[in-house]
């Protein structure tokens, strides 16, 4: 009997043990599945898996950029295939994607920590491109229409900046201080700091930088030559707070600069002329899972921009012919602007995770943009008095957009994306866009993508509503720009970081807005086509280095039959050698081919140029000091960016050799 009881007890115990083991196994398995889901989500959020996403994307990481001696966001973007810079009025340097309308500022979108920061006056974001690399964690750039944020309407490209204070890879924000010193009195310093606060996480960055750059320029349209004031004082403050599903993000920025080549492409003789631009962006976002498969996202955004300008746009002794009768401006003419705009936006989005292989998003966004200060004036007596008027004839624009994106897998190797967007404007024609993309992973090493997408860009207020007498004149009858883009991409993954990529594109642009005509008035041009390809090759030769080569080739036309202000060939090559865990050195070569001009501009093409930068860096152990020394344009090559016709005949000469020392330390 005793044996029987013992046997029964042993049997029960063994059964219990088996069940316990099974439970442990299933618990572990469930944990394992949760981990897989978590890391898949982080990889998607941080775009580590960009090669599998239905866009042409390049990612630039802080570590590489610092070691390459890249100073700011503008320089970083210039490293990408198909991206070039163009100079507009007041020296604004604007990125151009694949040669698409180099005279527009809003064809690409800048998104900082998920906040879109393009303004309404130009549609651009130039003043934010001076952001130093030291506060940036990662830059992701989509070339072509679309954006990784479905509600953002990228036309030719979109630039996503993830700051260190807002890093989204699940890692703690690294507290950091940095400082820089260089030629032309370049100097700056900043700090990144985060801490726990009221059950959530607070993070911030703050920096200040300045330079005293003056560049020699040839004759302007009045026949004056001399120095242009490119001085810059720039500061930004980023403040963020996250608690559960609640996010607060903000970025306050101010640029105080000289007027460069002038608001109206004339050289000022008054060194006190200035252009101050202030931007503030705030986002309050709440996300909540309403079921296992559905998540709701609600965001409120605020954006404002203030511009103050004083610019002597006509020199002493100018004979003013219009309006008649002709009169002599003995003290020249000043143009003064005090302008501010505000945009409020509300967005509601539902995210459906039907399964790991099927995700669907649908959302609605309402934007209300208006002008708050609309003041301009001219002074013909050396600023003793001025006569004021409204800068713009229209003061508001409402935009309501609905959008969706469906991404699902067909079989194990193919992902399909279908998206759509419809925008209703209060002052221009309504627009719609479709997107269809397929990504096929033939195997782990070979990935193919095919994409068809449409996009639109509404005219900027400067193009449409300016009332001031300006070099380029507005047109209230403008239609939005439209594009149909066809893209193909092949990616060969060669190793952990090593890859070869080839992208081919064909862009059918319609109603492009430019003022490159006889009347210098903004107008929609006829259909134009741009096509070409981009090659990218990245390789570590000795497991301690990065060799990157990219080559872009562009054909077609962007301004009525011509390929203006855009190089057919762009090449970037950089080599980064990590000599040891402490020392690194790098070389960077940038080649930009000849640039053509519009038909009415009889000048020779803009010369090709090649620039070489060299850097050397030192970093100690985990938290110790990092030092980078960089010489830019080491061979002091003279080169110019194209000026519009009838402005500066000799184009816009750029900086020669400069140097910069940067120091940073974690704490």
């Amino acid at each position: 009997m005793f044996r029987l009881i013992s046997a029964i007890i042993i049997f029960i115990l063994s059964c219990t043990s088996i069940h316990a083991e099974d439970n442990t196994g299933s618990d572990l398995l469930s944990e394992l599945e949760q981990d897989i889901k978590l890391y898949s989500e982080i990889a998607t959020e941080t775009n580590q898996n960009v090669d599998y996403m239905p866009y042409v994307i390049s990612t630039l990481r802080n570590e590489d950029l610092v070691e390459l001696g890249v100073l700011n966001l503008r320089e970083a973007i210039g490293l990408l295939p198909g991206v070039d810079l163009n100079v507009g009025m007041a020296g604004i340097k604007n990125p151009i994607f694949r040669g698409s309308n180099p005279y527009a500022f809003g064809q690409s979108r800048l998104i900082i920590d998920g906040m879109e920061v393009n303004d309404q006056i130009f549609g651009g974001y130039n003043q934010l491109l001076d952001m130093p690399i030291d506060i940036i964690h990662r830059i992701e750039v989509v070339r072509g229409p679309g954006s990784m944020l479905t509600h953002v309407n990228g036309f030719a490209g979109s630039i996503h900046v993830i700051t260190k204070a807002n890093r989204d890879d699940g890692q703690k924000v690294e507290d950091n201080v940095f400082a820089m010193l260089g030629s032309d009195s370049q100097a700056g310093a900043g700090i990144i700091k985060s801490f726990d606060l009221a059950g959530g996480r607070f993070s911030s960055d703050l920096y200040y930088q300045k330079n005293d750059i003056y560049l020699e320029v040839g004759e302007d349209r009045f026949g004056n030559a001399g120095e242009t004031n490119q001085n810059l004082k720039n500061y930004q403050l980023g403040l963020n707070y996250e608690n559960g599903g609640l996010y607060f993000k903000s970025r306050l920025s101010k640029n105080e600069s000289g007027v460069s080549y002038g608001q109206a492409f004339s050289l000022t003789d008054d060194d006190s002329d200035y252009l101050d631009v202030e931007n503030n962006s705030i986002e309050l976002k709440y996300t909540k899972a309403i079921s296992n498969k559905v998540n709701i996202e609600f965001a409120l955004n605020y954006f404002d921009e203030n511009r103050d300008l004083q610019n002597k746009v006509m020199p002493d002794g100018t004979m003013l012919m219009m309006p008649p009768p002709p009169r002599l401006l003995v003290d020249g003419r000043y143009f003064l602007v005090n302008y501010s705009e505000q945009t409020f936006a509300q967005r509601l989005q539902l995210n459906f995770d039907f399964s790991a292989s099927h995700k669907f998003q649908v959302g609605v966004q309402a934007k209300q943009a208006k002008i708050k200060d609309n003041n301009a004036a001219v002074s013909d007596d050396g600023l003793q008095s001025s006569s004021g008027f409204s800068l713009f004839t229209n003061e508001k624009r409402d935009i309501n957009t609905v959008y969706f994106e469906d991404m699902f897998e067909v079989g194990e190797k193919t992902t399909v994306q279908i998206g759509g967007k419809l925008s209703q404007y209060s002052d221009v024609e309504d627009q719609s866009a479709l997107r269809l993309a397929v990504v096929h992973r033939y195997n782990d090493k070979n990935i193919y993508k095919a994409m068809y997408s449409q996009a639109y860009r509404e005219p900027s207020w400067r193009e449409q509503y300016l009332s001031a007498p300006a070099f380029f004149l507005p047109n209230t009858d403008l239609d939005p720009e439209e594009v149909d883009a066809y893209e193909m991409s092949y990616i060969r993954r060669l190793g952990h970081r090593d890859f070869f990529k080839i992208n081919a594109f064909y862009l059918k642009n319609q109603s492009q807005i430019d003022a490159q005509n006889q009347n210098r008035t903004f107008d929609n041009s006829d259909e134009n086509k741009l096509y070409g390809f981009e090659l990218e090759y990245e390789l570590d030769l000795f497991s301690r280095d990065v060799l990157h080569v990219n080559y872009s080739y562009l054909e077609g036309d962007n301004v009525t039959g011509q390929l203006a202000n855009s190089a057919e060939t762009l090449i970037d090559v950089y080599y980064l050698y990590r000599i040891s865990d402490k020392w690194n050195m790098s070389g960077l070569l940038e080649y930009v081919g000849e640039k053509g001009r519009i038909e009415a501009d009889a000048r020779e093409d803009v010369d090709q140029y090649a620039l070489v930068d060299l850097s050397a860096g030192y970093k100690g152990s985990e938290k110790s000091i990092k030092v980078t020394f960089t010489v830019k344009n080491i061979f002091d090559r003279e080169y110019s960016l194209p000026s519009p016709a009838n402005t500066y005949p000799g184009d816009f000469p750029q900086s020669g050799r400069t140097w910069m020392m940067r120091v940073s330390k974690e704490f």
Binding site: D22, T24, G25, S26, L28, L29, E31, L32, E33, D35, I36, Y39, S40, I42, A43, T46, Q48, N49, Y52, M53, D169, G170, Q171, A356, T415, V439, R441, D444, H496, R497, D540, S543, R544, Y577, R578, I579, S580, D581, K582, W583, M585, L614, A616, V631, I634, F635
Partner: protein
């Protein structure tokens, strides 16, 4: 021009004098692997027989100049494992060049190494029915058993050529979430 020559000469000098350098790892992938690896080891039905002093003993194999990444891997595994609260854990760092036949552990985490060194450890683990987990799934050619990769999603890869030879029996449901690859 003289300045440029001087700078180039200095850089060349630095290049000649600094030889040590670690491999480069994807930080997110390493974190994911550190989280997944010990849990996979525990799904071995016979894991209890492979514990050392009732503790899960893991050897992290690395090359001479990769100590920093080996230490990082150890710290990550410990950090992630602490949350699971399972058996005791002991992690040892061993250079491929110092690996000996006496080093029988519960499982082996293989950082980057030469094909021969990875093969040596993998063959030893195979003989002793121990799990090998490699950072780089290309080490499957060198007989490593498991790896984790990040593509459009995160996948656990199981080496089809090696799985029979290792003769390790994982719980059946595990085979439903892994991808068996060649």
């Amino acid at each position: 021009m003289t300045n440029i020559k001087l700078i180039l000469a200095l850089l060349l000098l630095m290049l000649m004098h600094c030889k040590s350098y670690a491999y480069e790892y994807d930080p997110l992938l390493l974190r994911a692997q550190a989280a997944l690896f010990p849990k996979i080891v525990l799904l071995d039905k016979d894991v209890r027989e492979k514990l050392k002093s009732n503790s899960l003993e893991i050897l992290v194999l690395h090359v001479e100049n990769d100590l920093i990444n080996a230490e990082l891997t150890k710290a990550l595994i410990e950090e992630k494992y602490r949350k699971t609260n399972k058996n005791a854990l002991s992690i040892k760092l061993v250079k491929y060049s110092d690996f000996k036949d006496s080093m029988i552990a519960t499982a082996y985490f293989l950082l980057k190494g030469t094909d021969d060194s990875v093969k040596m450890v993998s063959n030893f683990a195979e003989k002793n029915n121990r799990v090998t987990f490699s950072y780089d799934y290309n080490d499957f050619d060198s007989n490593a058993l498991l790896s984790v990769i990040m593509r459009e999603r995160t996948y656990i890869y199981l080496n089809k050529k090696s799985v029979q030879k290792y003769n390790i029996k994982f719980i059946p449901l595990f085979y439903k979430i892994v991808k068996v690859v060649e």
